[in-house]
């Protein structure tokens, strides 16, 4: 969650801190002490009185405008709790939310409530999920959000300071190395968390509003001159804080301030009620949270920012009649450095626990949704573009293919057109040829016929008239002539020979002598005759030429 140059801001009634963090480590820190008596006033004014302080702190740490800022605070209505739910996942989160809502002193509706799963204890029956829940009033969250925005930050997280304390106490109790009789007491500035565990399972955890800031306030009052009307100065507060963490709970006879003659006996009455409250709360927690109430068997392990306050462990041990030790993990006090609570927030953040105001959260979610919509739109646009490119590519490939095929298609079309023209012409030709064949009919070859007649004629046979016509029975030839009578050398009449020769001609189908009459030719007996020859008809050459052609 933390990235380079992110800001972590801590706000409590006694302190305003700004930390520049990088990779979960504090880089620079600056803090200013606050007067707790002004705390309510700050909130009443929407934290605007803190604007200048925060701006100066940011300037001191060199924070840039627009930096991501996480704010941990001890706001008056901010609360955090640990809910151990016999469920897992979302069911555990919902159960914890219900539990937190029921515990709230104000209506949950309209106020930010956030839950984060801390750990899962599978050893129990049923297994439990430890969920850290936090809530605040929305107007408080708005004030905090406004404080950050006015300071030029970009708020990304707002959470109660108590939450990291509870988380740390829970982790300490859930640690496998935790001894059964160990009771972890995590002393924060405003809250104290007591937890106990057993072999990885949580036996009890209780947080109460009692922190070492109360001890600090007691010391501040002690250091402040009696009867002085002005509020304690920042210097007095810093001196008291240093005294608390370096010298701790004073002896009654010990000298606290030699210049003013302030002794321990004057301070202890102010501290004693607070220590008593620690004792009472611890005893009650152990009594109700542990299975036994024998404090002599309990070892109190002190940790947290107030864990190393000198003599506090000893006093608690004496009052509780139990062993009390300081944990090695308890942070050492470093003057001028950031508070241990805020350092813990930097080092072990809880990113899922966020109490941003609902409007800001809605704006954030809306922004995320809007970004999602735009990203989706861009993705869809890219998809459309990719699809368009694919289509264009495919189309180009098809166009190339069709372009390559175009000459082939053109030749096919040309061939089809030629085919069509040929078919039309063939039809016209067929029709014309059939008509011509019917019209021209079959006629004899007149030239060949005349030649034939001339060839078979002789001195004995003279032709007087040749008539040809085409009658109903086909082409016919009528020949009128005179032939010498009597037999010749061959013992046959010339007319008979002539008839035979004519009948033998391939042009003639049949020859018929229709009449003969005796007459005289050149003073010799002769026969005048009329014969009719049926001729073979032939089609016209143009019709013959067309046969066998396509």
């Amino acid at each position: 969650m933390l990235r380079s140059t992110s800001l972590c801001i801590g706000l409590s009634p006694t302190r305003l801190e700004v930390v520049v963090a990088s990779d979960r480590a504090v880089v620079r820190a600056a803090a200013v002490e606050l007067d707790p008596t002004e705390w309510e006033g700050y909130w009443a004014d929407g934290l605007m009185p803190l604007d200048a302080l925060l701006a100066s702190l940011m300037k001191r740490v060199g924070a840039r405008r627009g930096a991501r800022a996480m704010l941990y605070h001890d706001g008056p209505d901010a609360t955090a709790m640990l809910a151990s739910c016999p469920a897992a996942g979302d069911a555990a989160l919902r159960a914890a939310r219900l539990q937190a809502v029921e515990a709230l002193p104000y209506p949950a509706f309209g106020n930010p409530v956030s839950c984060s799963i801390l750990d899962r204890d599978a050893s129990g029956d049923p297994p439990r999920t430890h969920v850290l829940a936090a809530a605040d009033r929305d107007d408080r969250a708005q004030s905090l959000y406004g404080l950050l925005v006015r300071a030029g930050c970009r708020p990304v997280l707002i959470a109660p300071m108590e939450a990291p304390l509870i988380a740390a106490a829970a982790r300490a109790a859930l640690d496998e190395s935790c001894r059964p009789n160990d009771v972890h007491m995590l002393l924060g500035e405003r809250h104290t968390v007591i937890s106990a565990g057993n072999g990885g399972s949580l036996r009890c955890l209780r947080s109460f509003d009692l922190g070492c800031d109360l001890l600090l306030e007691a010391l501040v009052r002690a250091f402040h001159p009696v009867g002085h009307a002005a509020p304690p100065t920042t210097g007095e507060r810093e001196r008291a804080r240093e005294f608390l963490h370096t010298r701790g709970i004073p002896d009654p006879d010990g000298v606290i301030d030699a210049s003013s003659g302030l002794r321990g006996s004057a301070v202890l009455p102010l501290l004693q009620p607070i220590i008593q409250r620690y004792v009472v709360e611890t005893r009650q927690t152990i009594r109700f949270g542990m299975s036994h109430s024998d404090l002599s068997r309990v070892r109190l392990v002190l940790s947290g920012p107030g864990g190393r306050i000198p003599r506090l462990a000893e006093l608690l041990s004496n009052h509780l009649d139990a062993e009390a030790v300081v944990s090695e993990d308890a942070p050492k006090y470093e003057p001028g450095a950031c508070s241990a609570s805020l350092r813990a927030c930097v080092e072990r953040p809880l990113p899922a626990l966020n109490l941003l105001p609902l409007s800001a959260e809605a704006r954030r979610v809306g922004g995320v949704l809007a970004v999602g919509v735009r990203a989706g739109g861009v993705a869809a646009g890219l998809l459309l573009a990719a699809d368009g490119a694919r289509i264009a590519h495919h189309r180009a490939a098809l166009d190339r293919l069709m372009h390559a095929n175009a000459p082939i298609i053109e030749s096919i079309d040309r061939a089809a057109e030629i085919d069509q023209r040929a078919a039309e012409l063939a039809a016209r030709l067929a029709d014309a040829e059939a008509s011509l064949a019917a019209t021209l009919g079959e006629y004899p070859d007149w030239f060949a016929t005349l030649r034939q007649l001339a060839a078979v004629a002789s001195e004995d046979v003279r032709l007087l008239e040749v008539t040809g016509d085409v009658g109903r029975e086909g082409p016919a030839l009528t020949v009128r002539g005179i032939a010498l009578a009597g037999t010749g050398a061959e013992g046959q009449e010339p007319l008979s020979r002539y008839l035979e020769a004519l009948a033998a001609s391939p042009l003639t189908r049949s020859v018929q002598l229709t009449s003969t009459r005796n007459t005289v030719l050149d003073e010799a007996p002769a026969r005048s005759f009329v014969l009719r020859a049926q001729m073979h008809g032939l089609p016209h050459p143009i019709v013959v030429a067309g046969e066998g052609k396509p």
Binding site: L358, R363, V365, G366, A370, V373, G377, A380, G381, L384, G388, I391, A392, H394, L398, D399, L401, M402, N405, I408, I409, I412, A415, A422, A423, E424, L425, A426, A427, R428, L429, A430, D431, A432, A434, L436, A438, T439, L440, G441, Y443, D445, W446, L450, R451, A454, L464, E465, V466, T467, G468, D469, V470, H540, I542, A545, G546, E547, K549, P550
Partner: protein
């Protein structure tokens, strides 16, 4: 506040969705349609090419060659038709042929002219007929050659009747031939496209 954000997100979603839908409907869908059309055209091209390949493989004579043959035949018939159908040309041919064979034309009488008299039922071919009576005088041999030229070389000509008789008088070698001819002409050239659509049945041959 939440309502405003929800409305803003809804409006953004609507705007983005509208832009995307508009882009899809306005650009991609027409592109898809054009692509589908191109695909169909390309597929049709392939089918056409394949069919043409098969047809080419099964065709004995290329279409150009077939059209050339048919055209040549049509030209031949048209020329024959023209030779026997043009009166002036026919007259010149007849007299020329007679002169070339030493035959004198004694008479050349056109008998009658008829169109469509021999038209077959359903045929589109119109044939005009001109009939002549020719009286020619010459030797038998010359008349024979004249007859040969008449029936073989003067287009669509038929000799329908013939009478040859020796010429009386002082020319015993000469004969008088009375020749009746019919000359046919196609009213429309075969190379002229048919003004009416050709019916599929008319494309078949073998109607002689």
């Amino acid at each position: 506040m939440r309502h405003l954000i929800v409305r803003r997100v809804a409006i953004e979603t609507l705007v983005v969705g509208t832009i995307i839908a508009g882009g899809w409907f306005g650009l991609l869908k027409p592109l898809e349609a054009r692509l589908a059309t191109a695909k169909a055209r390309q597929a049709a091209q392939e089918v056409k090419i394949e069919a043409a390949r098969k047809e080419d493989a099964s065709r004995a004579v290329p279409p150009e060659a077939r059209l050339r043959e048919l055209t040549a035949r049509a030209v031949e018939i048209d020329q024959q038709s023209k030779a026997s159908g043009e009166p002036a040309m026919l007259y010149d041919t007849l007299t020329g042929a007679a002169a070339s064979h030493g035959v004198r034309i004694d008479r050349l009488d056109p008998k009658r002219r008829a169109t469509g008299a021999n038209r077959r039922p359903g045929s589109k071919t119109e044939i005009e007929t001109v009939e002549y009576t020719i009286i020619a005088i010459g030797t038998f041999d010359a008349v024979s050659r004249f007859v040969a030229q008449l029936e073989r070389e003067i287009g669509l000509t038929r000799i329908t009747a013939l009478r040859v008789a020796p010429r009386p008088g002082d020319s015993p070698q000469e004969v008088t031939a009375t020749i009746e001819t019919s000359h046919f002409r196609l009213v429309r050239s075969l190379l002229e496209p048919d003004p009416r659509p050709v019916s599929p049945a008319a494309t078949t041959r073998g109607t002689k």
